[in-house]
């Protein structure tokens, strides 16, 4: 075999490789475009140093919002700071579309509710928005999964998912159980 020649078998493998990659990308395209499943990519800036003065992330505006969004989703606002998510505990209904809006008041953080797709980085200067639905009631930890300093191990909050029928809309933002 001359050195500048592609073997027949190799040519076939090249097509197999291309087909495999095409299949993977195709599956992702279908879910992304067809079902609108994207990673959290909400490019929206905010001044992290003055979150407490902002309309949205002031202390009394945090937590599960009393007013549902136009499409019926529930909105939850959280501030991430060393070493917690504030408010520290929230309660949300199962099976409902929940829009989390989060901002950091200091360094990088990451929010993740294990074994769900509720996951996002929280980068100072940006609002992170992530949408999730929790099918099963129960108590879930929301962990900080990005190194944020020596107290990072302690950074977590409690999310309680209650059955739809036991759910009561909160009267105000800010105060949670």
């Amino acid at each position: 075999m001359s050195r500048m020649e592609i073997n027949e078998l190799e040519r076939k493998w090249l097509f197999v490789s291309l087909a495999m990659i095409g299949m993977f990308v195709g599956a992702i395209v279908v879910t992304a475009i067809g079902k609108g499943i994207h990673p959290p990519s909400h490019v929206e800036t905010i001044d992290s140093a003055s979150l407490h003065l902002s309309q949205e992330f002031a202390e009394d505006k945090l937590g599960v919002q009393p007013e549902p969004l136009a499409d019926g989703s529930l909105q939850v606002r959280l501030v991430a700071g060393r070493y917690g998510f504030y408010p520290r505990e929230i309660e949300v209904p199962a099976g409902r579309r929940i829009v989390f809006r989060m901002a950091s008041m200091d360094v990088l953080h990451g929010a993740h509710i294990p074994m769900t797709n509720m996951s996002t980085m929280i980068v100072p200067g940006y609002v992170s928005e992530v949408v999730s639905v929790f099918p099963k009631p129960g108590e879930y930890p929301m962990l900080c999964n990005e190194y944020c300093g020596l107290g990072h191990d302690h950074m977590w909050s409690k999310v309680t998912v209650v059955a739809q029928e036991n759910w009561r809309e909160p009267a105000t933002g800010g105060k949670q159980p």
């Binding site: 990659i21 990673p39 959290p40 909400h42 993740h112 074994m115 930890p141 990005e146 190194y147 020596l150």
Partner: protein, 498 residues
């Protein structure tokens, strides 16, 4: 045989690389013990994060950069059959890199640079850490220049000829590194250094992360290309066959260079500062760059099959048994490819645009990259060391049997350590924690896996010690090689000297 200058230069670079490797393994060992939570006296976030930072910097930056420089000098002189261009420049690059490492080591070990190996603004490290890391990168650019000049000189002297494959790949790697290291260099010079020196008060974290991501993915190919060189250029001969196709090998290196560059945003899938459109494009690029890896796996396996059949292996799988499993280079290639397949599967999950959310920043991720980096890449570096040490020192490898034990140990340890990480990742355990503080039922299910991690860590550290010991003994006590003896044809097995 290369001249004494090249041999010395390669050996000096290699000793820094493998010294860093040996040391880093002990930090890794401490980390699996600490985060298991089983040993109360070890619990310390301050020591843990200093250790993670040092482990990451030593493995990802020191081992790789020095190994690649040393291997590049050797490869250029050997495959082009010409003396090294400008040895003083090469020594200067070595000096700058080494000075940078020393400068960064002080704050790292004092816990003043616990920013892991991805820098992490706005958490700030001591300025000497950023300075040291920058010098390491700058010193490596000397190497890039030497490689590209030697490539060009050879082309000038050999018009119309094809440059030998190892040098073709090395030049591709030098180009790749020049371009990809620019991201982290820009971050360092224009953001981190002025900020750490107090010239600026704030830092744009979104920009810093974007610049780092520019470097962060192609850097993996910078580490991987020398391993591929060994797979393409050493393994087929060592197995008793020849390379299946030279053309496709070159195509794979060009594809890695071209496709590998613009895909770093896949490290930012979960970041709010990048739009979905960019992430989508980088996802397509990430899958595209799997093609050269699939080609490499095919070509190397096909070459091994030819060798196995030539050695009398028959049937669908008979050729596998007929391979010279006792040749360190062949064994390393087989183990490397196995880990590449396992790690590649995890990589597909990571690369998946939306599925990534389930595993992002969980223990799954170090499980994946330990298979690819510590598994595939480092295993081939070890095999290259076993091949080159006798040539560089003029002495035979101290013990082939121990080399095989060492390689098997590395593989077994890596599998035992990374399997629980993948499971823990699916169970949501974050990767960057020093202890489990979550008062939750979920975290109880994590506990049994910690024990397996520790067992894997012990095997790995033992294997790393054995490796460094073998290099040391080869250099000091290995049997002398007759100057005219051609190492290429030396019998690979059954040698033991003391």
């Amino acid at each position: 045989m290369n001249d004494a200058t090249v041999n010395r230069l390669t050996l000096f670079n290699f000793w820094v690389a493998f010294g860093a490797f040996g040391l880093a393994c002990f930090f890794g060992m401490y980390q699996v013990l600490e985060r298991s939570g089983l040993f109360a006296f070890l619990q310390s976030p301050a020591v843990y994060f200093a250790s993670v930072s040092t482990h990451g910097v030593l493995m990802a930056f020191v081992l790789t950069t020095f190994f690649i420089m040393g291997f590049g000098y050797y490869t250029a002189a050997q495959s082009l059959r010409r003396p090294l261009w400008n040895p003083p420049l090469a020594w200067a690059g070595y000096g700058v890199c080494l000075f940078g490492v020393a400068l960064a080591a002080v704050p790292l070990l004092l816990g003043k640079a616990s920013v892991l190996y991805t820098f992490y603004p706005p958490i700030q490290a001591n300025v000497f850490f950023y300075l040291g890391a920058t010098l390491l990168v700058v010193g490596s650019w000397f190497w890039c220049v030497i490689m590209l000049v030697m490539f060009a000189q050879w082309k000038r002297d050999h018009p119309g000829e094809t440059v030998p494959l190892p040098m073709f790949a090395t030049a591709a790697n030098a180009l790749l590194w020049l371009w990809t290291s620019a991201g982290v260099a820009l971050e360092s010079v224009f953001q981190l250094l002025p900020w750490a020196l107090g010239l600026t008060d704030t830092i744009d974290v979104g920009l810093a992360r974007t610049l780092f991501a520019w470097t962060l993915h192609p850097i993996v190919y910078f580490w991987l290309i020398p391993a591929y060189i060994a797979l393409y250029c050493y393994v087929p001969q060592a197995a008793g066959g020849k390379l299946f196709s030279d053309l496709l090998a070159r195509a794979a290196f060009v594809l890695i260079l071209v496709l590998g560059l613009p895909i770093g945003f896949h490290h930012l899938y979960m970041d709010p500062e990048q739009g979905a459109g960019w992430k989508f494009l980088h996802m397509v690029g990430t899958f595209a760059v799997a093609i050269p890896t699939l080609l490499t796996a095919f070509t190397v396996i096909a070459s091994l099959e030819m060798a196995g059949r030539r050695r009398g292996g028959a049937g669908l799988f008979g050729w596998i048994g007929a391979l010279p499993w006792k040749h360190p280079m062949v064994l390393a290639a087989i183990l490397s490819l196995l880990m590449l397949v396992l790690g590649g599967f995890g990589g597909i999950v990571n690369a998946s645009y939306a599925m990534n959310a389930m595993v992002h920043n969980t223990a799954w991720v170090p499980g994946h990259f330990h298979l690819i980096f510590a598994g595939t890449v480092v295993t081939m570096y070890l095999a290259v060391a076993y091949k080159l040490w006798p040539e560089l020192c003029g002495r035979r490898l101290y013990s082939d049997d121990l080399a095989l034990v060492q390689l098997w140990g590395w593989f077994i340890g890596m599998v035992i350590m990374t399997t629980p990480w993948h499971i823990l990742g699916l169970l949501g355990q974050p990767r960057r924690i020093s202890a489990v503080q979550y008062n939750s039922v979920l975290t109880l299910s994590w506990e049994p896996y910690e024990l397996a991690m520790i067992a894997g860590g012990f095997i790995l550290v033992g294997s790393a010690c054995l490796f460094v010991y073998l290099l040391y003994k080869t250099q000091t006590a290995g049997g002398k090689v007759d100057a005219r003896e051609d190492m290429e044809d030396a019998p690979p097995t059954g040698r033991r000297h003391g």
